[in-house]
């Protein structure tokens, strides 16, 4: 197994630069997830690692070996595509053995590897079937099996669960986690779904506009985002944002007037001056109704999930604010109330989007 290291990697399509000086490292044996909105360059980056796209600048290393100009088949990677890309005219076993046939591996070796991959992926009963006779989940498992038999140094997944229904996605997520633990290979996974990123990743790399906005452990990104984009992108429902300006500071706390109310934010560094414009971010689970202080809001819709509810409210400026409520069964529809949280749960962002710590 090998890690993947990108150094100052760039990619342009004509005058359009889609990957802008990206440097990152997915350590050996880790499950790295590239996540970001459509057009952020995550799939392009993955395809560059695979060798399916040329690199305009920079260096790509796999297992310490510079593979920037090496052809795809010799990079030691295997890729699982969103559309599965199974050969429709071949059986499941033939699909999985295709690369081994091309490399003229002996028949017994091919059969052993296919049987082992089928066992891991619970496809043993389907080896003689054509892909068209399989369900979406089974097809995706065949695609993964095709990657496994190649015994690559790095597995690359390009939105592999996007074509599956919600239930199957959850199931396949678990299977992928299990598979990663079982074979221990380095895996890089591309998705636009932050829930997939949070549940699968050892490390998440959040991309936007061809840049890596932040990388780190899923909970680090959730609890301690570097910027407003990451704070808003990671988490479901998304973090609430309100804008205001500082009215008072002291004891590591800045008081911010916003939405006809106030929120306190705890800061470790130098406190901003009075009058500074700030955007405050609070996770839905950290907000709760309060007697005084906080923000005045009107409840619009409650999403009852059973164990908890997400209460969608509207603030004075018209901003949507969502908070999570646990252990209550009474409905709050149409009520006016105040919601707040402690200063430690509030994150502050400067107008340029950077986090103020």
């Amino acid at each position: 197994m090998a890690g993947v290291k990108l150094t100052n990697v760039r990619k342009s399509f004509g005058p359009l630069e889609v990957i802008k000086d990206v440097s990152l490292e997915v350590p050996k044996g880790e499950f790295g997830v590239f996540v970001g909105p459509s057009g952020c360059g995550k799939s392009t980056l993955l395809r560059m690692i695979a060798g399916l796209e040329d690199t305009t600048g920079g260096r790509i290393e796999i297992g310490g070996r510079d593979v920037t100009t090496v052809e795809p088949a010799k990079r030691g990677v295997a890729m699982v595509f969103q559309s599965y890309a199974l050969y429709p005219h071949l059986s499941v076993a033939e699909n999985m053995a295709f690369s081994l046939r091309l490399s003229r591996a002996p028949k017994h070796e091919r059969e052993d590897k296919v049987r082992e991959a089928a066992r891991i992926l619970q496809l043993t009963d389907h080896l003689d079937k054509k892909p068209s006779a399989l369900s979406g989940g089974q097809r995706q498992r065949v695609a993964i099996g095709r990657a496994i038999v190649r015994e690559p140094e790095v597995f690359l997944f390009d939105e592999p669960l996007s074509n599956l229904d919600a239930e199957l996605r959850v199931q396949m997520r678990l299977e992928l986690t299990r598979l990663h633990r079982q074979i221990g290979a380095t895996m890089i996974y591309v998705t636009h779904d932050q829930v997939e990123a949070m549940t699968l990743a050892d490390d998440i790399y959040v991309l936007k506009g061809g840049h890596v906005m932040q990388s780190g452990r899923p909970l680090t990104l959730y609890d301690d985002p570097d910027n407003r984009f990451v704070a808003g992108f990671i988490g479901s429902p998304a973090m609430n944002f309100v804008t205001g300006n500082v009215t008072q500071t002291g004891n590591g706390i800045a008081r911010v007037a916003c939405e006809d109310g106030t929120l306190d934010v705890a800061l470790q560094g130098a406190l901003p001056g009075v009058g500074t414009d700030l955007t405050l971010g609070v996770r839905p689970e950290h907000l709760a109704p309060v007697e005084e202080g906080g923000l005045p809001v009107t409840v619009e819709v409650a999403e009852e999930l059973g164990g908890s509810s997400f209460i969608h409210t509207r603030a004075a400026s018209g901003a949507d604010i969502v908070f999570e409520r646990r252990g209550h069964r009474d409905r709050l529809d149409g009520q006016s109330l105040r919601i707040g949280t402690s200063a430690e749960n509030v994150l502050a962002f400067l107008p340029n989007g950077k986090r103020l710590r």
């Binding site: 695979a50 060798g51 399916l52 795809p72 088949a73 990677v77 295997a78 890729m79 595509f81 969103q82 559309s83 890309a85 050969y87 429709p88 005219h89 295709f98 690369s99 091309l102 490399s103 095709r146 190649r150």
Partner: protein, 276 residues
């Protein structure tokens, strides 16, 4: 069903029936003529209905002409033409569809343009060329000019364009070359179209008359359509024999059509753009 609808149906059926009869009449007439004796064919009062069952013209055609030889020539040239046209057409279409190189679009434009040039207009320059190459009365002279079938390239390209690009990328990652992709993925994925194009190319080559007629002068090398003209020469105006040779010449194509009816229909629809 309303009365008006029933009348419409009857009228349409009648029109279809009449059209069918008009279409089949020459074939029927050829058959009726071929089973008559030569004297009966030209006798007064020979009616539309078969009134004689005389197979002598068939025996004459089979045993007193070079028909068997012409059969072998036609089968040989048609098979060679079909195989070469399919292989070169497929490879050319693959290059135009999947490879990126300078002049690709211009080249495809040339292929499209050549599709629009009538064969007849090329006959003279091709004849001069073949003559200069010393290929008159040679197998190469019969086969070479018939190897350019742009429609095969156009149809293959259309189908190759529709194969998802992920399949190509999967092959690249699996360590395959362009040949792997073409012969192990694209070709098996398009067996249906290959069969259809094969049949239609074979029929075209089998029925080809003008070029073989011009380029062959020795009876030994004639294909069946050209050979029919020799029957005329050998027997004078021997209608029954001409018709029997014509029917025997058409027989393999008719049998092939009956076996591969569905595929031929598909091929015609694809090449005429009805089905893509």
């Amino acid at each position: 069903m309303t009365t008006q609808r029933r009348i419409e149906n009857i009228a349409l059926t009648a029109i279809t029936l009449i059209a069918g009869l008009i279409w089949i009449f020459p074939l029927y007439w050829a058959f009726v003529t071929s089973i008559r004796s030569e004297t009966r064919v030209v006798a007064d009062g020979a009616g539309l209905l078969p009134d004689e069952f005389n197979l002598s013209s068939y025996f004459d055609a089979l045993f007193n002409t070079s028909l068997i030889h012409w059969y072998i020539n036609s089968i040989g040239t048609s098979l060679i033409i079909t195989v070469i046209v399919l292989i070169t057409g497929m490879m050319c279409a693959y290059a135009l569809s999947q490879m990126r190189f300078f002049g690709r679009k211009v080249l495809y434009g040339v292929v499209l343009a050549s599709f629009m040039v009538p064969v007849q207009s090329l006959v003279v320059p091709q004849f001069v060329l073949m003559n200069d190459l010393g290929l008159i009365n040679k197998w190469g002279g019969i086969i070479l000019p018939q190897l350019v079938v742009p429609v095969v390239i156009i149809i293959y390209k259309q189908f190759f364009d529709a194969v998802p690009k992920e399949l190509k990328e999967a092959v690249v990652l699996d360590g395959g070359s362009d040949y792997t992709l073409l012969f192990r993925v694209y070709l098996p994925l398009n067996w249906g179209i290959t069969t259809a194009l094969g049949i239609i190319t074979f029929i075209m080559a089998w029925n080809s008359f003008l070029w073989p007629f011009l380029v062959i002068t020795t009876e030994d090398m004639m294909t069946i359509p050209v050979g029919i003209t020799q029957v005329n020469d050998a027997f004078g105006v021997a209608y029954a024999r001409i018709m029997s040779v014509a029917l025997l010449a058409a027989a393999p194509v008719v049998i092939a059509y009956l076996i591969f009816q569905k595929r031929v229909t598909e091929a015609v629809m694809i090449s005429s753009g009805v089905k893509g």
